[in-house]
């Protein structure tokens, strides 16, 4: 699975608290993505990165920020978590120069009470 790990795997937090999710890759891929998955919505892109310190917004970026200070780590931060951000969060990397395959991490299940 392209050496992608996500931490934590599960988290329960309260409304209004900050939360940071980490995605770590071991294979030096340039492109990294954060998605959220909710019933009836499939996977929706939150933010993506095309290099160190190069990030852009996806379709559901409100309430989220990201940072990528080194190639291997892509952090997703919920500045003040809300119940609507309860979801499963997937990180992905994209290969380039070939099939553009996206490899997904195992996911983080976040519950905001």
């Amino acid at each position: 699975d392209a050496g992608i790990t996500q931490s934590p795997r599960h988290k329960v937090t309260e409304t209004g608290t900050p939360v940071t999710l980490r995605c770590h890759q071991t294979e030096n891929h340039r492109y990294m993505y954060w998605y959220r998955q909710d019933p009836g919505h499939g996977l929706r892109l939150i933010h993506y990165s095309y290099g160190v310190k190069d990030t852009d917004k996806g379709e559901v970026s409100d309430g989220y920020s990201v940072s990528r200070s080194k190639t291997e780590d892509f952090l997703l931060t919920l500045e003040s978590a809300t119940s609507s951000q309860t979801s499963v969060y997937f990180c992905a990397i994209r290969e380039t120069g070939g099939t553009d395959t996206q490899y997904f991490g195992p996911g983080t299940r976040l519950t905001v009470l």
Partner: protein
């Protein structure tokens, strides 16, 4: 905004029956990918289609990309219980020169009854 619609949302079939899921995009796509997600798991890449009218096969799975590069389908022949899961299409849309983002369809959840 850009959307990728996928139908049906759910499909229950008897083992041995065929299954098809369809994706339709509101905009022309650079390419389209298909993924499978088993219950409790993460999406796993199946295939990518790039060319207009392209057809690719993987054993019992047949993938098609429409002539206008706005729609695609996945057909499974003679389903097996191992085919259970949710199938997603993901359309690639060019953002800037050399940068692309993927818009996922809502997925089709397949159940196979033995």
């Amino acid at each position: 905004g850009q959307q990728v619609m996928q139908i049906p949302q759910y499909q229950h079939v008897q083992e041995g029956e065929d299954f098809t899921t369809y994706c339709n995009s509101s905009t022309t796509l650079s390419n389209i990918q298909w993924y499978k997600q088993r219950p409790g798991g993460h999406p796993v890449f199946l295939i990518q289609l790039v060319k207009s009218g392209e057809v690719k096969k993987q054993k019992r799975l047949t993938f098609q990309f429409g002539e206008a590069k706005k729609n695609s389908s996945l057909h499974i022949t003679a389903t097996q219980t191992t085919d259970v899961g949710t199938y997603f299409c993901a359309g690639s849309i060019r953002v800037t020169s050399g940068t692309y983002k993927y818009i996922f369809g809502t997925g089709t959840r397949l159940k196979v009854l033995a």
